[in-house]
Amino acid sequence: MKRRGRGLASMWYPVGFTVAANPSGAVVKVNEDGTAVVLTGTVETGQGALGVLSQIAAEALGIAPNDIHIVSGDTDTCPMDTGAIASRTTYITGNAIAAAAAMARDTLFEVAAGMLGVKASQLEAKDHKIQVKGFPARNVPIADVALRAHIVNGTPPIGSATWNPPTVPLDPETGQGKPFGTYVYATQIAEVDVDDETGEVEVLRVTASHDCGTAINPMLVEGQIEGGVFMGLGFAVQEEILFDKQGKQINCNLTNYIMPTTLDMPAVECDIVDSYDETGPFGAKAVGEPSLVPTAAAICNAIYDAVGVRIMSLPATAEKVLAGIKAKRAAEQKQIPA
């Protein structure tokens, strides 16, 4: 018989480690037609980093994401970057790119100030235009400003910047200090069916609410959450590297290392918490790693809710759950007086 259960788990996760130097550099070059090239030393590892970074650069320059071309992942041409690790790309590389874009934009403002007859400090970049704050009708297209900067003024708009989160090292005795720039938070709730004859756990749906600061691209945030729930599901009920007594892996292939397939994956309901972090680029923090953190606990708590079995070691395989159910039944039998 299938027994339904629900469980929840919350978590916190740090962004932008500060226990060691953690810098990113960025270069933003505005082209003659008002589009831009961004140089970054990070590498696209599938999460959509280059898309997010394009959106950050575009926002800073008042142009559209596909006006940005990103050159990445080359130590000869790109500035130093600590890399696509530790959920740092949006937060740290994003901050560096936002700063570099602002620097290139300042050059555009200098040129446009002359064209519009105002001070550079009165200008803003928006909708492909440089315009006077409060008087958007007084504007020049960014393309015109950029062309003028390049071939008339001789001041090509190029910005470069680095960003490294401010640090307070941890006290070696007590571990007190400020080890991270900021933190993100999340709660996930899982609903499961447990087959009390086989111990099989079927995860039916997972509701995942994540704080990631500003969602630079909500579609990509959802993608990270869905992928995180997938990985958390594997962690919860399927995945485990098995070693023999001599330290050799037993299940070292994708036949025997069990990870979820399409048929195992539950429905995922994503929620992005309304949030803004003033230390992040346009308020953004991170979502890549955190999305998998609470899933296993939520699922195991749901298993307990369904059949009263507390999972103390992962993964909660069907065999383990059934053993728990049988042990519980045996204990209950004992308690009932004859």
Binding site: Q47, M219, E222, M265
Partner: protein, 173 residues
């Protein structure tokens, strides 16, 4: 030995050792690198191509077994007129992340839609069990296949004409 295939509508031959898999022939002899080597033993589906209308693991088929047959790879899906609806939907919805599993997922889905134009979500899930993906949790893929199926059923499908529906939308106002 000489193996001759019709690949993406064109007849091609290559001289390959007999133990060459279809995947190696495609990638290394015909330079069609869309199908990927993920596990090389038929677990992950990254090498999926369509042979005579059926999705198969190109890593588990000798090139010789495909001799004389018709092979469609991911490179054969788009046309001059535009993207295949699966490609269109997948790119717009971010259905792929690192993208390594993508060619296999799209080819398996295409084979499904060729035989089952109106698949249920369960049928899509069943069809895609042989395509492992470590990034996406499959969610946007499963939705995407359904959306592409709907698009293909509609004769007015803008994607088929190579035009994006969202770009076309403002003109209708």
């Amino acid at each position: 030995m000489i193996v001759t295939l019709t690949v993406n509508g064109e007849l091609r031959s290559a001289s390959v050792p007999p133990e060459t898999t279809l995947l190696v022939m495609l990638r290394e002899h015909l330079h069609l690198t869309g199908a990927k080597t993920g596990c090389d033993v038929g677990d992950c589906g990254a090498c999926t191509v369509i042979v005579d209308g059926l999705a198969v693991n190109a890593c588990l088929m000798l090139a010789a077994q495909a001799d004389g047959r018709t092979v469609t790879t991911i490179e054969g899906l788009a046309t001059r007129e535009g993207l295949h609806p699966l490609q269109k939907v997948f790119e717009e919805t971010g259905a792929l992340q690192c993208g390594f599993c993508g060619p296999g997922v799209i080819m398996t889905s295409k084979a499904l839609l060729d035989h089952t134009p109106e698949p249920t979500p369960q049928e899509i899930r069943t069809a895609l069990t042989g395509n492992l993906c470590r990034c996406t949790g499959y969610v946007k893929m499963i939705e995407g296949v359904q959306e592409a199926a709907a698009m293909m059923r509609s004769p007015q499908s803008p994607a088929l004409a190579g035009q994006s529906p969202a770009l076309a939308a403002p003109e209708q106002k």
